[in-house]
Amino acid sequence: MGMTITEKILAVHADLKDVYPGMLINAKVDIALGNDITAPIAIEEFQKANGEKVFDRDKVVLVSDHFTPNKDISSAQQCKFVRQFALSQELTHYYDGGEVGVEHALLPEKGIVLPGDLVIGADSHTCTYGALGAFSTGVGSTDLAAAMLTGEVWFKVPESIKFILFGKLNTWVSGKDLILYIIGKIGVDGALYKAMEMTGETIGTLDMADRMSMANMAIEAGAKNGIFACDDTTRAYVKPRAKRSWTEYYSDDDAVYSETMEIDCGKIEPQVAFPHLPSNTKGVSQAGNVTIDQAVIGSCTNGRIEDLRIAAQVLKGRKAASHVRLLIIPATPEIYRMAMKEGLMDIFMDARAIISPPTCGPCLGGHMGILAQGERAIATTNRNFVGRMGHPGSEVYLSNPAVAAASAIMGRIAGPAELT
């Protein structure tokens, strides 16, 4: 019987010839990731288990990106705890201060995660790296502690759902819209415990930023991982960044899927997920009159240079409405510098935007743009749960960067097509 990409990567890392859905395995991890919120618990657990040295200092990655630059004293204490651990363990990949970026933008950019890898991260959006053809999934802090200690993690092999995407994308439609559309179709638990394998002719037309936005939000459908097979676009992205060799895996023709779903991408317009679930989606033309107080362009979903270029294309020569706070958060220092060199920062500042240093910040209601009671934000982030960006009585609407930028200008949710 054939195997899917997900099954092949899990089998190799568990030293097994083949695996099947439902099977419980112990697998070796290539990269184990933590951040300033999840790593402190993992480090405490590691120390309680008498852990001395992590299993491999090249493979444990710590990124203090959530509440940094330190938002308050407690956050500063947590970051200090992570820093002391990272330095004492002499971790190769520890990012802090001016080197920090939003983890799921930073790791692919630095070539730390590669195709065929098995990656776990104590952050639910670790599934992002499936865009590179890796098996990558979010776990908790105790799992991270176990991986730091042993280099292994337990998994139940997931069933896979195959998505076949066909058709040409309409103007202003991006990977973000495709994944929002899919989540709207299958629901926030539509892929619970499963792998979402993205295939079809449309995938070849998507750049890596689009693919990463899609894999990133697999968790929003409850999935264990999202995954894309490697192609020339993947190789062109990975090759200049990789410092080690990688292995590409492809699903067999007779691989078994729990379900196959065809998506006609030509029928999709830019999507908006209304409060308070990512599955509560509508086409932007159906949004109605929803005024906004804030627009956020950034995050591990949409804070890459491609996203900022799209935002700049919409914002160029225009200004955010006077009552709208427009926040732009380049996801990594490299993206920040590129945006500067390309003149995007001037466009943003002329549009009355606030430019934030790289941070997860407002996406999880941490800092750098918290909402008051009754306020509404449109955001290129990934979750719109109650209180996600601040007060439990505030609202978050999810969209792509073009829609967020156009909405900032209009002062209400709007697509770029409405701009004159």
Binding site: A122, A146, G222
Partner: protein, 164 residues
């Protein structure tokens, strides 16, 4: 493993931001996390909950972030176990890894109002609702590996035992 307690009923898709909002993730102090448990779903919950109470959820309980602060907050608030129609996968593994007992039951949710006392018997895999003569409800069986984790007191203790 048997739990008897008053239940607190919540809906479908109770996310980890509702269980413990991110504004409190600047600490790992269990008592502080417990004092904000379920706050964005029911602001009075931290005051109302008593030791031994049981949380009952609908589908996809614990969806969203990987924060282990969520099962920690529930456990530290004195809740003995959580019963839901289904759990989001990271919450599911976190609960077993850190030692919060959780059970899946498709039937319980629709049979209760939210004021009842229930008995969850992890050993024979049943739930009974106090004051009713209905037949005990079946809990989805817990896979043997997860039972081992619970018996050992969580993942780290399980690993330490294996390593000797």
């Amino acid at each position: 493993m048997k739990f008897q307690g008053k239940i607190w009923k919540f809906g479908d898709n109770i996310d980890t931001d509702a269980i413990i909002p991110a504004r409190y993730l600047n600490t790992t102090d269990h008592a502080v996390l417990a004092s904000h448990c379920m706050e964005d779903a029911d602001p009075a919950f931290p005051q109302k909950v008593s030791g031994g109470d049981i949380i009952v959820g609908g589908e996809n309980f614990g969806c969203g972030s990987s924060r282990e602060h969520a099962p920690i907050a529930i456990k530290a608030s004195g809740v003995s176990c959580v019963v839901a129609k289904s759990f989001a996968r990271i919450f599911y593994r976190n609960a077993f890894n850190m030692g919060l007992p959780i059970f899946e039951s498709q039937e319980l949710y629709d049979l209760i109002k939210g004021e009842e006392t229930i008995t969850v018997n992890g050993d024979d895999g049943t739930i009974t609702i106090a004051g009713t003569n209905a037949a005990p409800l079946k809990i989805n069986p817990i896979p043997p590996f997860m039972q081992e984790l619970i018996a050992d007191g969580g993942l780290m203790k399980h690993i330490m035992k294996k390593r000797g």
